[in-house]
Symmetry: C2
Subunit: 335 residues, 2 copies
């Protein structure tokens, strides 16, 4: 017996009213903050509601009838541990305000426009886009629907009107890495970019180059690794086989840095940090694995999530840059 | 100018009708499969809809008026890479059928009842629970609402009526690991369980013990590591410090196996697989890291997701066990 042959429905306010021996409007008032209802009645209604599994409809509840309480959360790379942590933090932050994320996986970077029918179909109150690009059709549709869009961990440079941005201060972090490598005696630093046209990778690189230039040091090498571990290993292979080898590598994310460590140790027999310093970006859980113990730059995941959710509000921040922090482990020599 | 001061709304069917110069009902028919509408009219409606960013409301679209198209997806451990991959696969599978997951993060194992008001409030059509336990209140409320519940990767033994189960065939996989270790010459195998009362860990252990017993071999050690890397390392510490050391360890998941490798190599100076064989479960992306190259049992993530989504349907499978596959890397000696 599955009990699924009948019409599916959740418990209604009327059933709660009957069971509690009150009017339907008393149930409604019991669930409305500040509404006039006797404390004993409210308590009885709440007890019956809990027993029957009733909850007032979230569609429009306390948010004005035009709201659904649903926020589209578009993620392109949930299998990247950094975005998994960020997605979890955003889901928790939304739920705490009575909203919930509609999780949509972007088919491939830059193709978020394909998700537009879903977002429009569910009449979302807002859209948070993490690790994917905002398509121009989606930007227009959201603007027409007066639906706020937040780009999370992606700086678009000049976002369309109504589009808000929340990310780490990638430029400042890149500058800090340059200062750190110089302070630790490195003079031949290289950079491994992620996906070339992403603003996060570009900002980290720009900060790094600018920090080095301030001390008259130029990049000793530069490759791109597409933000993946295999891409990082391949980039390291190209950087390390030349005669003028870099003495340190700054990677635009941790996944690539793990690939660099595999390649440097396994294929070139280099000791890290003795012969090569390596520093990543994100501080994913895997960076702490003892076999890697990666020195890296930590992004403030819960801070980013809270800021993204706040940016959905009218009057919320339009652009928000959060500071990063250095996490020292074992892949960069001590000062 | 954010354009957010007005009432938020998505483009309506009426606006599409006006722009396309057709009636509102023609728009509706254009979006209804099999409805009578001239091909030229349908083409014009679709073009205008695409331009304006219109999509018919997903609430009830083609699913009967009592459906919302929303499926609650409850996940407890999104930062565990296996569950991140599974969540992504479920989201993609739902979207392909015109449904979308409401992502809810369970506050802690066993406390999914706290999420009931959210699930009821959004009138979900079904609930998929991954890596968390179904609370008794939620089970009752879903049964009352005739809302199907699918436990994904959790076997509950005797689930309440209407609750469906989709998981890997953990018992058979445990038996296969026993046969493999014996074939490779191991005679002192140990087991590291996950969280003690989870059905997945128990089924893996039962199969493993049964397979060993068939050959008259007993467990040379047994610990629990709570499915975490640190827990796995601590369990290995207890197993390896005795004089009668095991010659192989089967871990109930990969995260613990990574911790075992760190501990065995870093703290005990053991060579793997020479002095200790290690095998995990899941085949998370990190198992392939060159610094670990973990031999493990792969769960069929996309198969599990497809089966979970199919189990939401009336007439869909009530219980579904999927086969696993061995992935040979470098932590178990060759046959």
């Amino acid at each position: 017996m599955d009990g699924e042959s009948g019409r599916r429905r959740w418990v209604s306010a009327l059933e709660v009213a009957r069971d509690a021996g009150v009017s339907r409007s008393a149930v409604s008032r019991a669930f409305t903050e500040g509404a006039s209802v006797a404390p004993a009645t409210r308590a009885r209604v709440m007890e019956v509601a809990r027993r029957l599994g009733y909850a007032p409809s979230a569609m429009g509840r306390g948010l004005g009838a035009a709201r659904t309480g649903l926020v589209g959360l578009v993620v392109a790379e949930l299998t990247n541990p950094f975005y998994a942590a960020l997605t979890e933090a955003v889901a928790v932050a939304l739920l705490a305000r009575g909203q919930a994320p509609l999780l949509l996986i972007a088919p491939a970077a830059g193709r978020t426009d394909e998700l537009l029918p879903q977002l429009a179909g569910w009449r979302v109150d807002g859209v948070i886009i993490a690790s994917a690009t905002l398509g121009s059709r989606m930007a227009r549709a959201c603007a027409a629907a007066r639906t706020p869009v937040v780009l999370l961990d992606r700086q678009a440079g000049r976002p369309p009107s109504g589009v808000r941005e929340v990310s780490s201060d990638n430029m400042a972090a890149g500058e800090a890495v340059a200062a750190l490598l110089l302070a630790r005696g490195h003079r031949r630093p290289a950079f491994i970019a992620g996906i070339e046209d992403t603003a996060t990778s570009r900002a980290r690189e720009a900060g790094f180059r600018s920090g080095l230039a301030d001390s008259g040091v130029a990049l000793a090498g530069r490759e791109a690794g597409g933000f993946t571990r295999a891409g990082g290993a391949a980039a390291a292979r190209r950087l390390l086989r030349g005669s003028a080898r870099p003495d340190a590598v700054f990677c635009a994310n941790d996944e690539m840095a793990l690939g660099v460590l595999d390649c440097a140790r396994g294929e070139f027999g280099l000791s890290v940090p003795g012969e090569l310093g390596v520093i990543g970006f994100d501080d994913i859980a895997q960076a702490a694995l003892e076999g890697y113990a990666l020195t890296t730059i930590r992004q403030d995941v819960s801070g980013l999530a809270a800021a993204a959710v706040a940016a959905l509000d009218v009057g919320g921040p339009v652009r928000c840059l959060l500071p990063c922090a250095l996490v020292e482990r074992a892949t960069l020599r001590a000062g």
